[in-house]
Symmetry: D2
Subunit: 366 residues, 4 copies
Amino acid sequence: MAGSIFGKNFSISTWGESHGKAIGVVIDGVPAGLPLSEEDLAIYLNRRRPGSNAYGTKRNEADAPEILSGIFEGKTTGTPISIMIRNTSQISRDYSNIASVYRPGHADYTFDEKYGFRDYRGGGRSSGRETIGRVAAGAIACKILKELGIGVTAFVRAIGPYTAKGDVFTQEHINASPLYLPDEEASAQAENYLKECMANKNSSGGIVECIVTGMPAGIGEPVFDKLDARLAYALMSIGAVKAVEIGDGVAVSQYVGSENNDCFYMNDGVIEKKTNHSGGILGGMSDGSNIILRAHFKPTPSIAQSQNTVTNTHEDTTIEIHGRHDPIIVPRAVVVVESMAAITILDLLIENMSSRVSYLNEFYQK
Amino acid sequence: MAGSIFGKNFSISTWGESHGKAIGVVIDGVPAGLPLSEEDLAIYLNRRRPGSNAYGTKRNEADAPEILSGIFEGKTTGTPISIMIRNTSQISRDYSNIASVYRPGHADYTFDEKYGFRDYRGGGRSSGRETIGRVAAGAIACKILKELGIGVTAFVRAIGPYTAKGDVFTQEHINASPLYLPDEEASAQAENYLKECMANKNSSGGIVECIVTGMPAGIGEPVFDKLDARLAYALMSIGAVKAVEIGDGVAVSQYVGSENNDCFYMNDGVIEKKTNHSGGILGGMSDGSNIILRAHFKPTPSIAQSQNTVTNTHEDTTIEIHGRHDPIIVPRAVVVVESMAAITILDLLIENMSSRVSYLNEFYQK
Amino acid sequence: MAGSIFGKNFSISTWGESHGKAIGVVIDGVPAGLPLSEEDLAIYLNRRRPGSNAYGTKRNEADAPEILSGIFEGKTTGTPISIMIRNTSQISRDYSNIASVYRPGHADYTFDEKYGFRDYRGGGRSSGRETIGRVAAGAIACKILKELGIGVTAFVRAIGPYTAKGDVFTQEHINASPLYLPDEEASAQAENYLKECMANKNSSGGIVECIVTGMPAGIGEPVFDKLDARLAYALMSIGAVKAVEIGDGVAVSQYVGSENNDCFYMNDGVIEKKTNHSGGILGGMSDGSNIILRAHFKPTPSIAQSQNTVTNTHEDTTIEIHGRHDPIIVPRAVVVVESMAAITILDLLIENMSSRVSYLNEFYQK
Amino acid sequence: MAGSIFGKNFSISTWGESHGKAIGVVIDGVPAGLPLSEEDLAIYLNRRRPGSNAYGTKRNEADAPEILSGIFEGKTTGTPISIMIRNTSQISRDYSNIASVYRPGHADYTFDEKYGFRDYRGGGRSSGRETIGRVAAGAIACKILKELGIGVTAFVRAIGPYTAKGDVFTQEHINASPLYLPDEEASAQAENYLKECMANKNSSGGIVECIVTGMPAGIGEPVFDKLDARLAYALMSIGAVKAVEIGDGVAVSQYVGSENNDCFYMNDGVIEKKTNHSGGILGGMSDGSNIILRAHFKPTPSIAQSQNTVTNTHEDTTIEIHGRHDPIIVPRAVVVVESMAAITILDLLIENMSSRVSYLNEFYQK
């Protein structure tokens, strides 16, 4: 009965509801000595902030993070870092109509079944605002990974039927699209598609892809805490994700072995692979290639169309959901995917430090 | 540095290598009072046993499980259950050629990178035999779930391009196919396809689907230990799985909201859903519908074709992998998927028992 | 590298330093439906508050708790409860002299060795203020236990050489002593002793005892998460505790078996014990008698006498520690012991709910 | 409902009952590359073996360990190590009389209360044989610690009223006493005392002390996984332990601060302490001095005297416990204490490797 803690070594404990006083995270296991400021966090939080693009909710909050502990003289001390973001924009009456009606595609019914009642204001704990804690922690994980030469970059691979072509994108390329969909034509088509969705009182799904560069080989702990298993766990825990793929993902079930295997070869003294169907993971451990992940998001369940549903007193009814809702959450989810990937990878990088007796010897006898 | 333990309440700790003395599992957290015999386990283990179909490896071992602890007078005592299966058929010379060559698509290279060396005999810890411990534990989880009215049934949804049509299958229907692919025509086509693969010294991927019936609503622990997140973790930890889908899975990224939302309605006093795109999970908790999962397996990486690769002394070379290898592991993986799903669900069913203060009151004040 | 999370089912994650912005705790796993207010917490926090008796530090803070999440309409929702207490009274210059000198008996040196530097203001994370999070969480655990008929009561058993006689004390009896030492004569002697300590620029140790009534039998998880093992873990994690005893504790090593064994007998249809040397625990599980615990606290290490020590640049020096320090922390630690005991017991009560298959059957088939 | 797993990084999962087929342990997280043989384990197991001294049970089993996994070419591979010891000497009829009677001081009653029934043969899971798995794992932990220059040495400090004087003992000194009580006079007195106990159909308690040398400073994870807290947890989980002390332990509650504080000083460029009242731990982290621990064991509850008790059908009765029982378990517990201390320390040494960002940098950028 305790599912809001994630990670074994770099552990995050998130808390908060959409319309509670605040939302936040406590991170236990941040190594000491990392320069860290509230600005470092704000850069990441701004990327998921509502209002950051035309297709996001109109709720406009500063989401200014306050670091309450774990920092001294500008550096992490090794003690838990507590981060709080006040909820400033909640308008409870917006949501009063959902107190007694179960919105299709939402967690209203399941929360009531589990706990007997729920904080219905703005989705309570199942609101997208829950991801704020993840992103604040992800900003820290990303900063540490960057010091180790590891880059984590996510972007929108597809919105509805419109897909970005290509394999290599720069951050500039990604940011050039208001949807973080790094393909000019597809991005423009997706924008039109979203406008159409909104006109139809509808919403859209999409795909976020994440690429991790600079990974050392051997990261991941067989046989359960494999790198791919932990990444699937992390990504599937994000609201609205219904599928996770590693490398070629679902396509591999139709491959034959000779198509799917990535051949090794020597490249200037270094072992490399000719292809990367595996998405950088073999046997649950990183193989030194780029890690490639994809998370498939369902369309926002809140739509203004009339839908059939039931009340919490078990009567048939209909509902139209108005108010400030994203017609798509995918662009704002990019930084959430990036964050969860970074947290997972850092957690396993730490765990790997004790994989050989010789490493303990070097550490303690230097 | 410890990734071979899975589950919080019903915890399994698996151990063993393909060519070690034995392979097994310790299960901590089995509730007391369950009638349990070695025959209960053997039924499940036989389903993953090599030689159970024409497309499995020729290695033929009895895989007879020995229960070493945790049972008294035919019932579980609440103490850890240790299960051991002796490895009886290993022929080490079969594998001697792979000691120094990294097989494409295998974990040879990543094991060496992580640990400095590896038990190369038969794949060592990354062999498919590692799943024996999972299945033995899964047999116990399934038996408990059955007592609670919960059924877990997996089958082969597709092999290469051949896909089973339909949504409802009986166990008889599934067992009627030598490939556990419950569609007479598709199964026959898949058989031909696999023969062709073998003739071409190649291998095939496929899809295992799993359906869980009888689930109570509200199971799963937001926001990280959601039912779907834990299931993705469990399934992605199975060797060769490259994608996991819940419900409509990857398809949802192309849906609009009105297509994807499952409308609630009252059915004879009970809240039900008109459709089940969500795969029985909303907000990370079971919604009372069937849970639907799919795991995508890559083709067996061991193929007899010549492949380019490198040695562990960093020289280019080629390899042809002969010996007893499945051209497809998917049919044998059916019971592994079933096992991991059952273990995960039981773990979360236990966790849910303390979700309300009133439950504690009823338990301790009766 | 993550030691600030305690408990498996009722998990507390504490954070904060003495002179940081705030201090607090996130509690994951609070069952839903418990009426809870900030007043419930304040009652407990006031008991550890500085200035609550003549022998506590002069630092006088309101320590008003703010509940930031997990409560809706006055009841717990089952989601994490975040509690924050602002630090309002810190005077950083008070502590500036300890930045470069290692105080004997304190964690200054070990923090520097572990993390490379430390937040030296007011002891940073090793300050007694760290226990605020524990007490806030303990208040919640105690409230749930009370609903289950379980009482947790701690008091001061001894200060220096002055020991409370007797075995049964009421809360009134305990509160009648300004030192929470429920023996009028011993309490008066201890007061004089503490005045003498202060006059001598010295400090005193003491013993806190805790009695848990109303425990059902069978609580505790052999063989590692035994009730006594978890309680020892919990109590020894409180700063300044150097020994933990269960029941007759250290005395048992001098007993013979016939003295130590508690004989069972039937008392009006109920199994009871003639004596309780075991302190209510047999084989690591509660035996239905009162649980009896004792924690031995060392004297406050901050004393105004001159002491030899070293600097962080490795030079011999001396230090006299002035400022607001308790000559004894034992009276203020009473509620901390109570809190840690309650958290531990609730955690194991939850875990015990799944100890038999029949319990799962009753729960899920009702 | 899962308490048989201990340790976060070096995790042991023990299993087995006194009269089951076998008893054992799975260790997950053993770093790769450690030379390890069954002989390494046997040396430790022989120290706890029955019949190793005149005061141990007459049950004489070889307790030959079989390593089933995790070793290749004589070295650990980084995968789980499974160790099994067959139970060969069980004589079930010896224990048949205890099936329906609750022995005072034993776990019979509490097991029945928790699980509804129990394996009553030889104490089942609560038998001293349960410690075999701990000792096998401890042998591995000790071997790794030895490579790091850390020595863990336990001995008998006292039996009944007879106490070893002195502070520094060699292993030879300890082994010179048949009771591992390194004080010639006290050992002889203790032998007489035990003979007297046996003549009186009685048993004796005692104290095991453990000293850890060569500890680096900074080991332990505030604020809950402090070194002392984890050690108390580990030691209190050993059957029959009723108190745990660190350093001066219970004595500190009667000290004043100036007596208890250990002054630092520079010794040839190294920070040392003049005294070691703290037992080598400050603020929950090692301070570079020797770690000093004491565990207080109750007398063996099985005595041949007639004792009042009850049956499992709730009737008053009496019991005399004959058969092979140790009049004292303390000498055989020495190696168990050593093992649990070593497992705990190694676990925290691993955890400490990621305490600074600079350590990650050195590790991943070398």
